[in-house]
């Protein structure tokens, strides 16, 4: 499109630190980063399940000992925090992208965030009761 230009245009490239220039970009990048921690956690969990399936009690107990290591506890804590952060941002975005019409009113992103957070807390509580406290 257009005539060839006499002088060269200047093309810029995105710098490595672009996501630090504004807090919303930083929040977005943190949300993207959560996937790395959740991926590592999932792989470790699959490995744990494979040990459980192999019925090798000694190996399973030794792995449980490794999970109690302060570094692993720190990793699990960061993963949990990121998992909650990711969930909350997605609950908000879901409300933005898919508002639901109830009568004449339409749901807001904050309503979606609140409803889904309560639902997540209730389901999490149910899972904890079922598996750690011996039943619902």
């Amino acid at each position: 499109m257009g005539e060839p230009r006499k002088y060269p245009e200047f093309r810029r490239k995105l710098t490595l630190g672009w996501w630090l220039s504004n807090r919303r970009y930083t929040a977005y990048m943190l949300r993207e980063l959560t996937s790395f921690f959740i991926m590592v956690f999932s792989l470790l969990y699959i490995y744990q399940l494979s040990l459980l399936a192999s019925r090798n009690t000694a190996a399973y107990n030794s792995y449980l000992g490794l999970l109690r290591n302060p570094v692993m506890v720190l990793f699990s804590t960061i993963t949990l925090a990121f998992c909650i952060y990711h969930s909350l941002t997605w609950f908000y975005l879901t409300g933005k992208v898919q508002p639901i019409k109830i009568g004449k009113r339409t749901t807001t992103p904050v309503m979606s965030l609140a409803f889904n957070t309560v639902l997540m807390a209730a389901v999490s509580y149910g899972v904890v009761r079922l598996f750690l406290m011996g039943g619902l």
Binding site: R5, E9, N22, R24, Y25, V97
Partner: protein
């Protein structure tokens, strides 16, 4: 701090006939409560430095010509008041990601080509005869696309989009918002003509929900919403096309219908 004073503007300059790289030049500009960045640029060009190049036209936030990155945020220079900055230096740079032609003037060809590709007009398979009158719409039908028709093609959303910054093949926020605007218009029948463009690999699927496009839009358009809605439409169509062969088979095997 009063609403009058002298502001310092640090303006990005690129003069390819003199320099191979952009550089900054500082100017002073007097301002009152109602002085906007564009007024300051006009004041500088008229009284201090006639070589400064930038685009503008309407001065009232309608034409979308005067976008620039002001202190790192894409904004219309005609709608950004100097007193907001309370005496701090105001950095004015060309819109990010687009090639710079001169000073604050960027090359818009890529956006213009994308705009044409999504066919931003009402497509009809067959026009109804004039004697049938206009195509009427209910207010609910208008609501489905109304906000997306407010786009003024100012390209601030492209400047705010890091995905476009990383991959200029990405169709981007404004073009998708306009495609969605026409797809949702009850008078339009061009969905099938636009789908191959918006659902190609670099169409809407590149978007990773940064959301900054919707934050910077000066007209209250939500391109991020349009992109996600377009993804939902695409996924629904893809689902339908998967179900079609099955329903075709059912029609052959169970001509009388069945449960």
């Amino acid at each position: 701090m009063t609403d009058t004073g002298t502001a310092t503007l640090k303006v990005a300059r690129y003069r390819p006939e003199k320099s191979t790289k952009p550089y900054y030049q500082e100017y002073k500009a007097a301002y009152r409560k109602d002085t906007v960045v564009l007024d300051a640029l006009n004041q500088i060009k008229a009284e201090v430095d006639g070589t400064l190049a930038y685009r503008w036209s309407c001065r009232m936030g309608v034409c979308g010509s005067c976008g620039a990155n002001i202190n790192g945020t894409p904004r219309l220079t005609c709608a950004t008041f100097l007193h907001e900055f309370k005496g701090r230096t105001i950095t004015v740079e060309p819109l990010a990601h687009f090639p710079i032609i001169k000073d604050l003037v960027v090359n818009m060809d890529d956006f213009m080509e994308k705009l044409v590709r999504i066919k931003p007009w009402i497509i009809r398979d067959k026009e109804a005869p004039p004697e049938e009158g206009e195509y009427k719409q209910t207010s609910e039908q208008v609501d489905k696309y109304s906000q997306f028709s407010s786009c003024i093609n100012c390209m601030l959303c492209y400047s705010a989009c890091p995905v476009y910054g990383l991959n200029e093949e990405f169709l981007g926020p404004a073009a998708t918002a306009l495609a969605y605007r026409y797809i949702m218009d009850s008078r339009d029948q061009g969905k099938q003509a636009r789908f191959p463009i918006i659902h190609e690999l670099e169409g809407v699927w590149e978007c990773t929900l940064v959301g900054e496009c919707s934050v910077v839009c000066p007209k209250g358009v939500d391109p991020m919403l349009a992109i996600q809605k377009t993804k939902i439409l695409g996924a629904t169509e893809a689902g339908k096309s998967l179900v079609k062969p099955i329903s075709g088979l059912r029609a052959i095997l169970l001509p009388q219908g069945g449960s």
